[in-house]
């Protein structure tokens, strides 16, 4: 087989193909292979092929499904809130009449420049019932909230994520708003549309592709929630804030059971893919 007989365009693709093979396809294939083995990092040399056992066992692992449920709840709540808040803020900042628009544009973005582990630690102290500023302030007006108790812990983590990542949503949506064509708005104005009607019937439909992109980017990121949980609750109380990433991390890197951890990761990939497909279908249908 002569190398020169390969069409020129494919020869040009080869270097990139090789790089992708080395850094993406090989590791993925390798971890897929690990997921089919009884593979413990502290028992190297004793690994054996067990087929789909790791996957089958996941079905009866209640902690895994609790973690999956928590993670999906977290993603839906966090990304939903970020979208609503981000969109509202983007509309405000897009409006040329907004007071000190330039100043707010830059300051509102700052939370997303902080490393998430630092944000986790910050809120751990801010919400600490003995030392924290927030509980002290709330107590002054007669409110007692146990932020990290069984009922609220997951929601508190959602709020922290909203605090940090709404700016990201804002940034994407604002860029989207600024790139929208002026004509439909002018036409609507001529027809007498104002305020909410304008947003509902012109802005949102035009923004749909951008919203879809923003939601997917944030969603994929939110599925990786780890730092806040690690810094604050360690998955507790009980399993109330156990997230997929924390669960997989513990299985793989604390208990060294790489086979099981790989099987969990692939199951998570399947679930995420299904969710993204669902999101696409829903938003496409609406726009059709």
């Amino acid at each position: 087989m002569s190398f020169l007989r390969i069409p020129f365009k494919y020869r040009l693709l080869m270097p990139m193909g090789l790089i992708l093979l080395a850094i993406m396809i090989f590791p993925l294939g390798y971890s897929l292979a690990i997921s089919l083995q009884d593979y413990e990092l502290s028992r190297i040399g004793q690994e054996r092929f067990i087929g789909l056992d790791n996957y089958i066992r996941l079905f009866s692992n209640s902690s895994f499904w609790t973690a999956m449920g928590n993670t999906i709840t977290f993603v839906v709540l966090a990304v939903g809130l970020e979208l609503v808040l981000g969109f509202f803020l983007a509309l405000l900042l897009h409006n040329k009449a907004t007071f000190m628009r330039g100043f707010f544009r830059s300051t509102l973005l700052t939370p997303m420049f902080i490393t998430p582990i630092a944000v986790g630690l910050m809120f751990r102290f801010l919400l600490n019932s003995q030392l924290g500023v927030i509980p002290t302030a709330l107590e002054a007006i007669g409110l007692r909230v146990n932020w990290f108790g069984p009922d609220l812990a997951l929601f508190s983590i959602v709020l922290i994520d909203v605090w940090q990542w709404t700016p990201f949503m804002l940034l994407l949506l604002l860029a989207g708003l600024e790139s929208l064509p002026e004509d439909p708005f002018e036409a609507a104005r001529v027809d007498g549309a104002v305020g909410w009607a304008m947003v509902r019937h012109i802005t949102i439909p035009l923004m749909r592709p951008i919203i879809l992109a923003a939601v997917i980017i944030r969603m994929l990121d939110a599925f990786k929630v780890y730092e806040y949980i690690y810094a604050i609750t360690r998955g507790g109380p009980g399993e109330a804030t156990e997230s997929m990433q924390y669960f997989i991390y513990r299985t793989g890197f604390i208990y060294f059971r790489a086979g099981e951890a790989a099987a969990m990761s692939f199951t998570l990939i399947i679930v995420i893919t299904l969710l993204v497909a669902l999101l696409f279908t829903v938003l496409r249908r609406e726009s059709a």
Partner: protein, 439 residues
């Protein structure tokens, strides 16, 4: 033909570059052990704790005495250590020649054949006095009859109290009126609960507890379990956690949390509890014995409360043992230099210096040395630590000790949070531990 050859060469070069970037490491030079006089660098992974600062200071003397051995430390927080250690073990040549091993890993790492057998080294080092290590700490050094770890420092649990509150005349009088007995340091769980609730009623939290999910809550609660005479696994390896003793111990622990701990402290770890003690908001805590000197340090975080704290054995007397060990990676190219360093640092003379400077003791001779009492934290501290260390047992043993500790802690935390009943939690622990042991 020429063009084909040219293309092949380019592709092969590209492939070779890619592969070499992935492979790296094993060069022939690395596999040859260095000659005796050749300069050697020992890389050591350690946890960033007060004891490490003392070790780093002492190591300067070692390097002056042994100019051909350079010691470098990689100090980091606990949570970052386990995976770094594992990757070092699995590399063709160790990243860390010497590692420190936490007691839950002391069966796991030797079973995975990661650690160098030190038995002969110990035997052939004159004046080392290995038997001097307190028995419960020494027991963990040995796996399958081989010594694979050398004790570094202990973190057995004790009860730290605000002595001034226990000595306060008004408090004593009030307690006598309420309980009908003298206000004394609690020796049983019943007494501890009663004293805790008494302080709570008098404006200070009775116990800064640490019910955080994971090994943390287990580390605290297992002292309660011992106090009732229970255990998770008995001497024959049977899972005995689902017992009346465990039920009582967990019920009392939850009652203490609900009636005498600082409010909303469900996710507290040892640092939160320490802050609560240091800021005068709690009267007692069950924590690492080495925290007492930190609290009593006038320049430490307790400020003017420094000097008012005292250490006692936990109620019931038997405590959870925690200890760190020095170990040598099996894949180090410098085993002799590594042993030279470890045996120097842990020798009776240097260990004494370490403890005098504030290190947590592991050798009986050090704890019984009047000179150490004088230069360190006083006789009562060392005799109490010795008493604690003489009657203690680790959280779990075996190759899955770390996983057992973490999983048990999940159920305990859920029970304290009210997410499950005490019976459900204990049954859950029983099933989980059996499942882990069967792996």
């Amino acid at each position: 033909m020429k063009a084909r050859l040219y293309h092949m060469v380019i592709i092969l070069t590209g492939l070779a570059m890619l592969l070499s970037a992935c492979g790296g490491a094993a060069t022939p030079a690395a596999e040859q052990p260095p000659a005796a006089e050749e300069a050697v660098t020992l890389n050591i992974i350690v946890e960033q704790v007060p004891d490490y600062d003392i070790v780093a200071e002492l190591t300067q003397t070692f390097m002056q005495e042994n100019p051909n051995i350079k010691v470098t430390f990689d100090a980091m927080p606990y949570d970052a250590m386990r995976d770094k250690i594992l990757t070092s073990f699995m590399a063709p040549k160790a990243t860390y020649d010497i590692i420190i091993v936490d007691n839950p890993w002391m069966d796991e790492f030797p079973a995975a054949d990661f650690l160098l057998d030190l038995t002969e080294y110990v035997k052939n080092t004159p004046g080392y006095n290995f038997e001097d290590y307190v028995a419960p700490v020494r027991e963990l050094t040995t796996h399958d009859g081989k010594i694979t770890g050398i004790p570094y420092y202990n973190y057995a649990l004790g009860m730290i109290v605000r002595q001034d509150l226990f000595d306060d005349a008004a408090m004593k009088e009030k307690f006598l009126a309420k309980a009908g007995r003298e206000l004394t340091i609690p020796k049983t769980l019943e007494e501890y609960l009663e004293v805790g609730q008494f302080f709570q009623e008098n404006g200070i939290a009775g116990a800064a507890m640490q019910p955080q999910r994971g090994y943390k809550v287990f580390e605290e609660w297992k002292n309660w379990l011992y106090a009732e005479g229970g255990n998770v696994i008995d001497a024959d390896g049977n899972v005995v956690i689902n017992s009346p003793e465990a039920k009582k111990a967990l019920e009392m622990y939850i009652e203490m949390y609900e009636t005498a701990a600082p409010p909303d402290s469900l996710n507290w770890g040892f640092d939160d509890a320490l802050r609560s003690m240091a800021s005068g908001q709690s009267a007692t805590m069950i924590s690492y014995n080495w925290m007492l000197p930190a609290l009593n340090n006038p320049e430490g975080q307790a400020g003017e409360l420094a000097g008012k704290f005292a250490l006692y054995p936990v109620p019931g007397g038997k405590a959870v043992l925690g200890a760190w060990y020095w170990a040598i990676s099996k894949n180090t190219p410098n085993p002799d230099a590594a042993w030279k360093y470890i045996s120097w640092l842990t020798s009776p003379a240097i260990d004494k210096l370490r403890v005098e400077k504030g290190g947590a003791p592991v050798r009986a001779s050090t704890m019984q040395d009047p000179e150490v009492w004088e230069k360190g934290y006083g006789e009562s501290y060392y005799t109490t630590v010795y008493e604690i260390l003489s009657n203690c047992e680790p959280l779990a043993r075996g190759v899955h000790a770390d996983e057992i500790s973490n999983e048990v802690g999940t159920f305990l935390n859920a029970a304290v949070a009210g997410e499950m009943t005490v019976d459900e939690a204990l049954a859950g622990i029983e099933a989980k531990v059996k499942e882990i042991l069967a792996k």
